[in-house]
């Protein structure tokens, strides 16, 4: 995939929080990240959306300098990575997929440890830790061992630790995979607070609702960026039309529709079937009624607004090649 703007914008020195050009990483024969171009503006929340093993974590490790790219260039906060990775570490907060603070230290001890690792001034540290504890609702649990916390509390502790040194860039690798929906919503409120106070946030997820909250989004699959843009824009420019069909025998209908070349994908959602139909069909409902009357007889058909999941389905899997073609 080539970006027609790339050549032009290269000469205009715009300041991106993260800029990668052709970033690739191979492990032996396996290409984990393939020619990834990213431009992430300051003070935004940018999401990597994709299935497990699509290269999200590898991309994050390339951006933090934990891995060396096999090809391409990476610039983060104006620094060349991995050459200046050590310099970046002071301005970077990182939250791993797995809880990686110490289970056998208390909440307070963990935060104090991280403060010392980042050489924060010892006079202000106590105040700083107290404010983090109250911001992330951990006051009452500050003397508890981290290992005894619930999933949501651990997550808040990890975020409190990662933001203790007020990093300009915060990288979160599937931060909410072990957290219930309510805590997840809560967690995102905290991310918006951080973003509001000037932090750039890069987050990976495989939840659609989380991805939809991001300012910008890259949909990834097998190490390749399939689509990127603001979620609203991605949904608007889906390149396919979405209808919902209800009635009986949806399993059979799904199978029959799936065989039609004009149908991109079908997915059952409770009592109706969500169907993506190629953009070339202008009026999907009348097209179905006239060309396949037997299939949709006695069924209601609604045209609906595309969701992010539709975008995801449309540009990944076997639809990827078609999707890309339609988009450009």
């Amino acid at each position: 995939m080539t970006d027609p703007l790339l050549g032009k914008e290269k000469t205009v020195a715009q300041d991106w929080a993260i800029e990668t050009i052709g970033m690739s990483r191979r492990f032996g024969d396996f290409v984990a990240v393939d020619q990834l171009d990213l431009r992430i503006p300051h003070k935004t929340i940018y999401g990597f959306l994709g299935p497990n093993g699509c290269g999200k974590s590898t991309s994050m490790r390339l951006i933090t300098g934990l891995l060396t790219p096999s090809a391409g260039s990476v610039r983060v906060l104006g620094m060349d990575i991995p050459e200046q990775a050590e310099l970046l570490r002071r301005r970077l907060g990182y939250m791993t997929q797995k809880f990686s603070l110490y289970d056998d230290l208390t909440v307070q001890e963990n935060l104090r440890f991280m403060a010392q690792i980042y050489n924060l001034e010892s006079r202000s540290v106590k105040q700083l830790i107290d404010s983090q504890l109250s911001r992330y609702q951990l006051d009452e649990r500050k003397t508890r061992l981290a290992g005894a916390l619930s999933g949501g509390q651990r997550q808040r502790l990890a975020l409190a630790a990662a933001t203790l040194h007020q990093p300009e860039l915060l990288i979160l690798d599937e931060p909410t995979s072990a957290v219930d929906p309510e805590n997840r919503r809560d967690f995102w409120e905290k991310l918006f607070d951080l973003c509001d106070s000037g932090t750039t946030i890069l987050v990976s997820t495989h939840y659609m609702d989380e991805a939809e909250r991001c300012h910008g989004l890259a949909i990834m699959e097998s190490g390749v960026k399939r689509a990127d843009g603001a979620p609203a824009q991605l949904m608007r420019e889906l390149g396919a039309r979405v209808v919902e069909i209800d009635g009986e025998n949806l399993r059979l209908l799904k199978q029959q529709l799936g065989e039609l070349p004009e149908v991109v994908s079908t997915a059952q959602q409770g009592t109706h079937l969500r169907v993506l139909i190629k953009e070339s069909i202008d009026e999907p409902e009348s097209w179905l009624r006239t060309t396949h009357p037997a299939l949709v007889a006695n069924r209601q058909i609604h045209a609906v607004r595309p969701s992010l999941e539709d975008v995801f389905v449309h540009c990944t899997g076997s639809n990827a090649a078609d999707g890309q073609g339609a988009r450009q």
């Binding site: 490790r61 933090t64 300098g65 934990l66 891995l67 060396t68 991995p82 050590e86 570490r89 002071r90 970077l92 990182y94 791993t96 797995k98 809880f99 990686s100 603070l101 110490y102 289970d103 991280m114 690792i117 980042y118 050489n119």
Partner: protein
């Protein structure tokens, strides 16, 4: 299918799962072969209570032909091998204290006259701190010797007079207790450091640490320092209780002892760091520790005299920090030697530590690739 064969099937499923996992854990799989192989070789070579060719010295004050005949008779027993010559008994005692030789034969000026009467003809000065070495030399006490000039064989009670230094009662505790310091430290220091680093990696703590400004060398040093204190506590317990309960003397200076212990703890911790850069799990770290511990017990001179071992086993022993430390700790604690007397062993431990830390830090990269 009846209940019994169902049970068999379930057991079979677990057996095959277990075997499959075992073959995928390469280091553990390797241990299955290596442990019996190495053990067999170590025990076979090291357990040799028949001490041969002990390096000893001689002070010949008589300067006679007969004295030389005595020396060659003693050499012929193959128990001792005369490697050093000293001018005075004082020099000889010094050499024993420094650990250069285990014993010195002093042939007196009146050697000729002694041959004619029933008195012992010469004296052995023996380092008794290693009881096995002491026993081997004591066995020579009644070796018959005739110069060929006597009119008739003289019935002597003892051919040699013996002065057993440092451990006159020949109590084995005196030999074992200082040696035990080396074994306990090898065990705990190597295991603690290796497990401590591997644990951080296993639990994912390291993934977070490497994204912070902390340097690899800082992680290494930070991990080592607490265990230096742990080691010093252990040494105090062993030597303190050894002194109180088993009456093990502490003849050397305490500052010399602490410095020697410090050098050995550093070398052992370095060994632990090296293990941690190889082992992927805590179980593997434990296995590798045991793997290092066995030769440290068998070859270091802790259980069997170094001199009794074949050359190849001695080379392996020289590579182990425990061997050098056992020499040092016995010399300082029992013989009152100073580090100045023990420079080769001290420098070896320091060199091992420096090279080991460099090797460990270069293997432990802050990057993941």
């Amino acid at each position: 299918m009846n209940a019994f064969s169902q049970s068999l099937q379930r057991i079979g499923a677990i057996v095959f799962k277990e075997l499959r996992q075992l073959t995928r854990d390469r280091p553990t799989f390797g241990m299955i072969v290596m442990v019996p192989l190495i053990q067999l070789l170590l025990f076979g070579f090291a357990i040799n209570t028949n001490v041969r060719d002990l390096p000893v010295g001689v002070v010949d004050l008589s300067h006679t032909q007969t004295a030389r005949a005595l020396i060659s008779d003693l050499t012929a027993t193959q128990v001792v091998s005369f490697t050093e010559t000293y001018q005075t008994p004082k020099q000889a005692e010094d050499a024993i204290r420094r650990g250069h030789v285990h014993a010195v034969l002093v042939i007196p000026e009146d050697f000729g006259q002694r041959l004619q009467d029933q008195r012992p003809i010469a004296q052995w000065l023996i380092d008794g701190s290693d009881t096995m070495v002491g026993n081997a030399l004591l066995a020579l006490q009644q070796m018959p010797f005739a110069s060929g000039f006597e009119a008739q064989p003289i019935a002597r009670k003892n051919t040699f007079e013996v002065a057993l230094f440092f451990n006159p009662e020949r109590r084995s505790a005196i030999n074992i207790v200082p040696g035990l310091v080396a074994i306990v430290l090898t065990m705990t220091m190597v295991m603690f450091t290796s497990a401590a680093l591997v644990r951080e990696r296993e639990r994912g703590n390291l993934e977070l640490l490497i994204t912070t400004p902390v340097r690899s060398s800082e992680i290494m040093i930070g991990k080592i320092v607490p265990y230096i204190f742990v080691g010093l506590i252990q040494v105090s317990i062993i030597l303190g209780l050894g002194h109180l309960i088993f009456d093990v003397p502490i003849n050397g200076r305490l500052d010399q002892l602490v410095l020697g212990v410090f050098a050995f703890i550093s070398a052992s911790l370095t060994l632990g760091l090296l293990v941690s850069t190889i082992a992927k799990t805590q179980l593997q770290a434990m296995q590798l520790t045991v793997f290092l511990l066995i030769p440290s017990i068998l070859l270091s001179g802790f259980m069997f005299p170094y001199e009794g071992m074949p050359k190849a086993a001695q080379w392996i022993a020289e590579a182990l920090p425990a061997t050098h430390f056992i020499r040092m700790v016995r010399a300082i604690v029992l013989r009152g030697a100073t580090l100045e007397d023990l420079q080769p062993d001290l420098w070896w431990l320091i060199g091992f530590t420096v090279l080991g830390v460099i090797a460990a830090a270069s293997r432990f990269k802050k990057r993941l690739d």
